[in-house]
Symmetry: C2
Subunit: 509 residues, 2 copies
């Protein structure tokens, strides 16, 4: 290496200091799409909650509560939901797979786990060429997991074996990176619009902004339980076209996040027709498909199923998303998920998605295994089956009770109305705030619901997300809370919320 540059490092340092050299990377000089992006679920309120949590560690009496209850995010195991025993045992054996090669250790293991746990771990290992979850997998994920996912979809949707092809399944680190990959592929520039529900899960608005595309909002009808209406979809579409936008995709979240509604079949058929007629890709976020509290009154149907039953699977360009983070699995930390490309999605586009997936090498292997366990749980007759069913039903029944309790309490409060939680993990109540509170928020330069939510946090330790983070009809105010505090906690949360609300309303009357 030759260089004519003879300045010593201390000279360099002082000359820079004297020149007052400015930083290269500043918020003025980075990619402006990054600045534009906002993501409320882990934004301002959560950052403050983290600060309070730190303060409580050194000074437990600094606040009127002992700990933060994180109702800002669907993170069941943070709020004490127990992981499924079978799933964790299998994953654990695969991590320490050298135990299975040692007969004395295997003997000890057989005293610790059910027989089918060992069998399952061995089945999975037999499908992994390297015999180790420490090797990179195929960039779309293990082939055997994708085959199990395809079989799961066929069974769920009543399709013939062989209908769903393994190569149309992409395993991902949770549903979010899959959504981001697909949006990145769809969006070319600011003239490309993506239809998103309002209120929506901010992954969508954030990713559209990050990719430099345009949000095309369509409003859900709060009065009819956050219903989807065709005239509103048409209005939103036409409004975008008038602005010169090219509408490329329609996002549907079913069951809804943050709104908790379950779509009716007839509406799904109309949505499918809309997408085909307009030439719009359907992005079906179905991560809450197991979280249904309607006692069979409004069953979950996948868009895939409906498309096949309508006979339009070759016309509807659909991508659907699923995850191990929700349902009763609740394994958020694993980052496991998948997306399914519908039959109509062009094979050459599939190859492009594969190529881009491969830049990240592969999704994490443990998350993939968790997907496999989710789509292929213990079967009737297997040793772990009863335990699995018991754990599953306990979680789902408890979530249902907690949802009902929360909604009932919220609807009993002055100026609060909350639609029923039919599915997913959230309540999204509307709060009619007193004029004085709105005025004060304006003075503070913050959204009124953000002020409400920050006061709730400071006074009760309950961390929820302001409705403005999900977008909402102008002039309305909401917040999103999960239904996840445990049965022991939920009474306390309900009481603290109700007391806070009464005080807040009195203060600003």
């Amino acid at each position: 290496m030759n260089s004519n540059d003879s300045s010593s490092s201390s000279e360099l340092k002082s000359s820079l200091e004297m020149q007052g050299i400015k930083k290269v990377l500043t918020t003025q000089s980075i990619n402006p799409n990054i600045l534009k992006t906002s993501y409320a679920v882990r934004g301002k309120v959560v950052i403050r909650a983290n600060q309070i949590e730190h303060e409580l560690k050194t000074n437990p009496s600094a606040f009127a509560f002992q700990d933060i209850v994180y109702c800002n995010i669907g993170n069941p195991q943070q709020l004490k939901q127990k992981p499924l025993t079978f799933h964790r045992n299998v994953l654990s054996l695969l991590t320490a797979s050298h135990w299975l090669e040692d007969s004395s250790k295997k003997e000890l293991l057989s005293q610790m786990v059910n027989r089918d746990v060992l069998e399952r771990a061995e089945r999975i290992l037999s499908n992994i060429d390297s015999k180790s979850t420490g090797a990179y997998t195929h960039s779309q994920g293990y082939e055997f997991v994708r085959a199990d996912v395809a079989e799961f979809i066929e069974k769920r949707d009543g399709l013939k074996k062989g209908t769903i092809h393994t190569e149309r399944i992409f395993l991902t680190d949770g549903a979010s990176p899959g959504v981001q990959l697909c949006l990145k592929t769809l969006i070319r520039n600011e003239h490309d619009g993506i239809m998103i529900p309002i209120p929506q899960y901010p992954l969508y608005s954030a990713t559209i902004d990050l990719c430099g595309g345009s949000q095309v909002p369509y409003y859900l009808e709060e009065e009819s339980g956050w219903g989807l209406t065709m005239p509103e979809l048409e209005r939103a579409y036409e409004a975008a076209v008038k602005k010169g936008q090219h509408v490329r995709a329609l996002v549907i979240i079913n069951p809804g996040n943050p709104t908790g509604q379950v779509l009716e079949r007839s509406h799904m058929e109309q949505v499918i027709q809309f997408c085909i007629k307009k030439g719009v890709v359907l992005l079906a976020d179905e991560v809450y498909q197991e979280n249904n509290y309607t006692n069979g009154k409004k069953p979950f149907y996948s868009f895939n199923k409906i498309a096949y039953e309508m006979g339009v699977e070759k016309q509807l360009e659909m991508i659907s998303f699923h995850s191990v983070s929700k349902g009763f699995t609740g394994e958020c930390g694993r980052r496991g998920g998948y997306f399914q490309l519908g039959e109509a999605v062009d094979a050459a586009v599939k190859e492009e998605l594969y190529k881009i997936s491969s830049v990240n090498l592969c999704p994490n292997a443990d998350g993939q295994i968790m997907v496999d366990l989710m789509v292929r749980p213990p079967a009737p007759g297997e040793a772990s089956y009863d335990e699995y069913v018991k754990e599953r039903d306990a979680i789902l029944n408890s979530l249902k009770r907690r949802a009902e309790k929360l909604v009932k309490m919220l609807n009993s409060l002055e100026g609060v109305s909350c639609q029923p939680v039919e599915g997913a993990m959230y309540a999204f109540p509307q709060i009619t705030l007193p004029e004085k509170a709105i005025h004060k928020a304006k003075e503070l330069g913050m959204a009124p619901d953000l002020m409400y939510v920050l006061e709730l946090l400071e006074q009760t330790g309950i961390c929820v997300v302001p409705g403005s983070g999900f977008q909402q009809k102008p002039g309305t105010h909401h917040f999103r809370t999960t239904i996840l505090p445990s049965e022991e906690q939920i009474e306390g949360v309900v009481d603290r919320m109700a007391n806070f609300h009464a005080k807040f309303m009195k203060q600003y009357k």
Copy 2:
């Protein structure tokens, strides 16, 4: 939901078919940056290798070999490298953490693992509020892991305790998503240039293309063992400026990938001065920092260490990357890694990186734990220490032997020259191809080294990557092979490569 649309789905289907409706998503209509991106490490050659592997499963005698040896990717455990026992045991206990709450199971465990494995698992659990790796973590990763990483960097670089701050560490799903996040933040449009070595690891070229920026290539000097020279850095910088580009960052891969060289300290100092003078962010890819085969002749230094020793840590805007996939950990499937923001990186930019990280919620928890175990292995005196040292040294010594064997063989071949492998996991030999071979490749419309590599695959089952996938000086041809086939395999690989090469040269003479 109201709709005036009364067409039945079968009518819809047939009308679409009659109209010959075109697909919405086609390679003509997707984001053109996606099309432009190429990623050779898992590209054409690997896709063909996968096909052959499938064919071999149904027809084991279809080829002159029984299996594919994947030398295309640094994936040690795929080629039988054993995972570190301590690390896997701890991770396994954390996955089945309910075992630790059951005294009879804990008793059985104490017969299966060393005492410090149990202690370590309990230390980690005590740092996780939810007591479960199934909950989302902080979006930058567990705070205790980041603290352990900060301490690791301080010790490695001889810095005082407290020099490196926890909030400047971002845990990631492997190094790749960290690199992608940083490039996405740096690149605003096609006028933003990123300096990359040629040859380079295609993560960089792919991500720059994907973000719509410009590659600013600087050539490494093959004759001097892939040396970095200041005049070449200056030339590349000036060439970009002349094209109207704004050079935003300089990527250095040390030890080099695919080129295997280890940077000298004096060159690192010059690079740092260059970055500060030009106002360019240094992206230091240091994922191979443990893979050094120079017997102390050319030790690895981190750019962080050199910047502190030069006293310019407040001037050098540096981001460095590390991973659990390489070194002797080799846990590619975990997707664990981190990046460290140097002190000079603006705090407001750090907040933007946090915000964008949070859109993906968090890196996978198991990968984070593996990072923790990598930076905090068993200490002298702990029960697992000797086993850990033995496993570590066996892996590194074996890699060194295999590197030497491969390089020696390659240099013995007609028309092949290979620089020494000082570090990392790859050899990158230059092959002087006969005119007739180059002519035939042109007829086939493919790069000559791609043709060479495809023939190698078809005849021997050895899968390597053509030099064109990493870029190379025009008119030269190379391929990259890992040094990873096991000691039992490497002789066979060496023989098959040598025989193939002799035949190839004869055929095209």
